[in-house]
């Protein structure tokens, strides 16, 4: 069972976190390793992964939804 993880990073301390890609991994440990190895072509200050299904929609202008409904 693999989970989709979104990958975020920033260039320097204090900068906003940027979404830089995604990957699939069977668990959090491998998600961290895969993220490092897939997205290490630039010098990042820090990098984060989060399971896609843990990201909560607040609103979407196209679908005219608010608070995920």
């Amino acid at each position: 069972m693999s989970t989709v993880y979104e990958v975020f990073a920033r260039k320097a301390r204090g900068e906003p976190l940027r979404h830089i890609g995604w990957l699939t991994a069977p668990d959090d440990d491998l998600a961290r390793v895969y993220a490092y190895q897939m997205y290490d072509e630039e010098r990042w200050f820090d990098m984060w992964v989060a399971p896609r299904d843990r990201l909560l929609e607040v609103f979407n202008s196209d679908r005219n939804t608010a608070l995920g409904r």
Binding site: L30, V33, M38
Partner: protein, 268 residues
């Protein structure tokens, strides 16, 4: 700290031992890079294949750093890198053949790569400064190799059944040779420690290694415990190359390292 082997004031015997150790690490990392490279397209998921490519690149880089150091010892580096036959390699025996399956790959990643890192860590405060400087950067990259190997190892062990059995068999085929690779508590080992080149050798390093892989062996239950208590035999052990086998890595891989097929394209 001394920046050249002459300035380090090593005795002739210590100098030879350091040279041999650097070649062991260079050859082992070159081979490990080849083995990782051979699995870029065979890994069970795309992300693992990318990890193989990244780890292969890292190991090749580490190998080059080590080979380059041998110039300081009067060696012909180009010949060492591209001019030798398999039986002249000093790489760890566990890398002589390509892993037969992904279980063998994971055992290599988690157990062999870690053994090389434990050896490199012993060089962190080396009296021969160029070694100390190089291992620091390299060990930074190795953290992620270790994490990849450990995550996969635990994943397969947790799966139980055939997967855990195959993983245990792969570990059993690998661990005894690695334990022997750290070598006996010999005059050479003592010499290296006394000269401050390494901070531990022989059984002391073996203990460090067993401690490091303790969690992995625990994950294999009784079979892991049996591996932990394995006492290596040093009959026929060549301390310079740290091998018992007098052959070397498979010929096809060595031919690829030498670049035999590309030789016709070489331009001076």
């Amino acid at each position: 700290m001394a920046t050249t082997v002459e300035a380090a004031g090593l005795t002739a015997a210590a100098k030879e031992a350091v040279r041999d150790l650097i070649l062991v690490l260079a050859d082992s990392k070159r081979l490990l890079g080849m083995r990782y490279g051979q699995w870029i397209l065979g890994a069970p998921e795309l992300e693992a294949g990318i990890a193989c490519a990244a780890m292969a690149q890292d190991e090749w880089g580490h190998a080059r750093l080590f080979y380059a150091l041998l110039k300081d010892f009067g060696e012909d580096v180009a010949m060492l890198e591209h001019g030798r036959e398999p039986h002249q390699y000093a790489s760890i025996e566990a890398l002589d053949a390509e892993p037969a399956d992904w279980f063998g790959f994971v055992a290599m990643n988690a157990l062999v790569d870690t053994a090389l890192s434990v050896q490199c860590e012993a060089l962190r405060g080396s009296s021969y400064a160029p070694l100390a400087q190089r291992v620091e950067k390299l060990l930074d990259e190795e953290r992620f190799h270790g994490a990849h190997g450990t995550a996969w190892f635990n994943r397969l062990a947790r799966a139980g059944g055939d997967a855990a059995d195959a993983l245990a068999a792969a570990a059993e085929a690998t661990v005894p040779g690695i334990l022997r690779w750290f070598g006996p508590d010999s005059d050479r080992a003592r010499l290296m420690v006394e000269a401050g080149v390494v901070d531990a050798a022989g059984s002391a390093l073996r203990e460090r290694y067993l401690e490091r892989i303790g969690g992995l062996l625990d994950a294999l239950g009784a079979r892991g415990a049996a591996m932990r208590s394995h006492a290596p035999s040093f009959d026929g052990f060549d301390e310079a190359r740290r091998r018992v086998s007098t052959t070397g890595p498979d010929g096809e891989t060595v031919a690829r390292i030498r670049g035999d097929k590309n030789r016709m394209f070489l331009v001076d």
